[in-house]
């Protein structure tokens, strides 16, 4: 039999209904596990002090009405860039140390309405500026599979929280790989929804034109359930899409991939890629063919340009978003920014400054258009496109890392899922 910390959403609900355990039992079990292993892994920055009281209320609700909310009593870890009333929120930066939010973010608000219970807030790269959690002002998170290795980032704490089995599901956010890459490195499932699918209100902004909240979980089915809850037009975020949200779990009932066309992008099988990764991608393509999909090699613009475009767009938006952090209405003074944050603010200030705007910012946005054009001719024909992930075991703490493929997809703002299951 599975242990409490191994369960998926539906298994937790079956346990509640069969009275195998209560929400209080589950939460206490997880808190003990966190107490035991968190000091070594540095996954949580803050725990919800009211969690047991909230679990008691949930048990009362289940006893009276059964389970009529989709996430009732599901323990969650929340990335520390989502504002949560009653739980401190820092975006892993000293400038927000001790900050207690004045309002609840849109997506955490939806999760609470669906009955989720928040265990705590997870470590991340400071202001999500990084892909490893190493830029966190509160120390890096360690990969639960091997604490000498990195968990990836920026949602490294949320991915590690699932991998270490501290919670049932977690919330992350992505700008250029920040859900997919830590999910891949921690051996769990992450889903980066299309930009504008879930609201950004109350999610501390990094790059406003690309930030996307999304779930990290043990199974594809659980990410689909969370995606259902957090998606939809948000009256507090004018960039969310009015297009109706489909039912994500309903897409999981397919028995094969007949009729699905998959593009295998030639330029992504780069010479710099390790043979091991290349082999895994080609094996995956064969597996898709076996399941009935057709796999076609296609050619897109060189992904190296994505790095330039992303660097300019992201730094520019960072400089603008972080300008409001002045220590007047909330937080501490600008001296509290870490080195990476300062570097990004300044590069963005430079690319947006008078005399350089056209050469850098406008040029990057024009190359972005060319990237979109190169993709659009395939997008109507194909449902899925492949990209690669570097292997986690190559990355020890304190080594540099960049991956042009992850960044490239981000500039299209499409949705993607890496998954081990």
């Amino acid at each position: 039999m599975k242990q409490l910390h191994e369960l998926t959403i539906s298994e937790v609900h079956v346990g509640y209904l069969n009275k195998d355990f209560t929400c209080v039992d589950l939460v206490k079990h997880l808190l003990n596990r966190i107490k035991k292993y968190n000091p070594k892994l540095n996954v949580f920055l803050a725990l919800n002090e009211n969690v047991l009281k909230q679990a008691e209320a949930i048990d009362k609700e289940i006893a009276e009405k059964g389970i009529d909310r989709e996430l009732l009593g599901i323990p969650m870890a929340i990335k520390d860039n989502f504002l949560t009333v009653g739980i401190s929120t820092t975006a892993s930066s000293n400038i927000l140390k001790g900050f207690m939010p004045q309002y609840e973010s849109s997506v955490t608000s939806k999760l609470l309405t669906a009955g989720a219970i928040f265990i705590g807030k997870t470590n991340m790269d400071s202001f999500a500026h990084g892909s490893s959690t190493e830029t966190s002002d509160f120390g890096p998170t360690h990969n639960p599979w091997n604490p000498e290795k990195l968990p990836g980032g920026s949602s490294g704490g949320s991915a590690a929280a699932i991998s270490a089995q501290f919670v049932t599901v977690a919330l992350g956010s992505e700008t250029a790989g920040s859900i997919r890459q830590p999910a891949a490195w921690c051996g769990v499932t992450g889903f980066k929804p299309t930009y504008g699918r879930a609201g950004r209100y109350g999610c501390i902004a990094m790059a406003s034109s690309t930030d996307s909240p999304g779930p990290i979980a043990r199974t594809v089915a659980d990410t689909a359930l969370i995606a259902n809850v957090i998606s939809g037009q948000d009256p507090f975020d004018a960039t969310t899409s009015p297009t109706p949200v489909g039912d994500y779990p309903s897409f999981l009932n397919k028995k094969d991939l007949k009729g699905i066309k998959i593009g295998l992008v030639k330029e992504y099988l780069m010479t710099s890629m390790s043979d091991e990764v290349k082999k895994l991608i080609l094996e995956a393509a064969d597996k898709f063919k076996e399941l009935g999909a057709t796999v076609e090699e296609i050619s897109l613009m060189n992904p190296k340009y994505a790095i330039g475009v992303y660097t300019v767009v992201q730094r520019s938006e960072v400089s603008s978003n972080l300008a409001r952090f002045d220590g007047i209405r909330f937080g501490h003074t600008r001296d509290s920014f870490g080195e990476e944050t300062k570097r990004r603010i300044m590069l963005g200030t430079y690319t947006l400054s008078s005399g350089y705007y056209d050469a850098y910012y406008k040029k990057a946005q024009a190359v972005r258009t060319k990237m979109i054009i190169s993709l659009l001719k395939f997008l109507n024909l194909m449902m899925l496109l492949s990209a690669q992930f570097p292997l986690a075991r190559h990355f020890r703490l304190a080594l540099p890392k960049t991956n042009p493929c992850l960044v490239r997809w981000k500039m299209f703002s499409l949705s993607r899922v890496p998954s081990p299951d």
Binding site: F99, M100, Q102, Y103, Y195, G196, S209, P235, F236, A238, T239, S241, P242, M301, K304, Y305, I307, G308, V309, T311, V312, S319, A323, D326, G327, I328, R329, F330, G331, R334, D335, F337, E339, K342, R343, I345, M346, L347, T349, Y350, T351, S353, Y360, K362, K363, A364, Q365, A366, V367, R368, T369, K370, I372, I373, F412, S413
Partner: protein, 108 residues
């Protein structure tokens, strides 16, 4: 395109624009790093963009508005709004002086 070198003086100017104070060691470090980063950014000049417009957003949404009616769900009570401020006075935020200071010229 010729190589662009970012000098320490430029880094100091950017820091001032960004309202950041840097240590001398950071000034030199950033000058070196920005020079390298701008090199990568300048690879974009290999791409001919003369026939395309810039993409500033990808949602396709235009002029998203709402009725001009007070929505209390969007409004924080004064005490809540002020709860994170270090200095308040009579229900207002207290802000540092920005005119008639040594820094005035650079701010304007």
């Amino acid at each position: 395109m010729h190589k662009v070198t970012i000098l320490p003086e430029e880094v100091k100017k950017i820091a001032k624009l960004a309202n950041l104070k840097l240590q001398p060691v950071e000034v030199n470090l950033f000058a070196e790093q920005f020079t390298q980063t701008v090199d990568i950014i300048n690879q974009l000049n290999e791409v001919d963009t003369s026939a395309v417009a810039a993409t500033y957003q990808i949602t396709g949404l235009v002029n998203v508005t709402r009725e001009d009616i007070v929505d209390t769900a969007r409004v924080l009570p004064q005490t809540v709004a002020l709860s994170g401020a270090k200095l308040t006075s009579n229900g207002f935020f207290v802000v540092p002086r920005i005119i008639d200071t040594e820094e005035t010229e650079s701010v304007i």
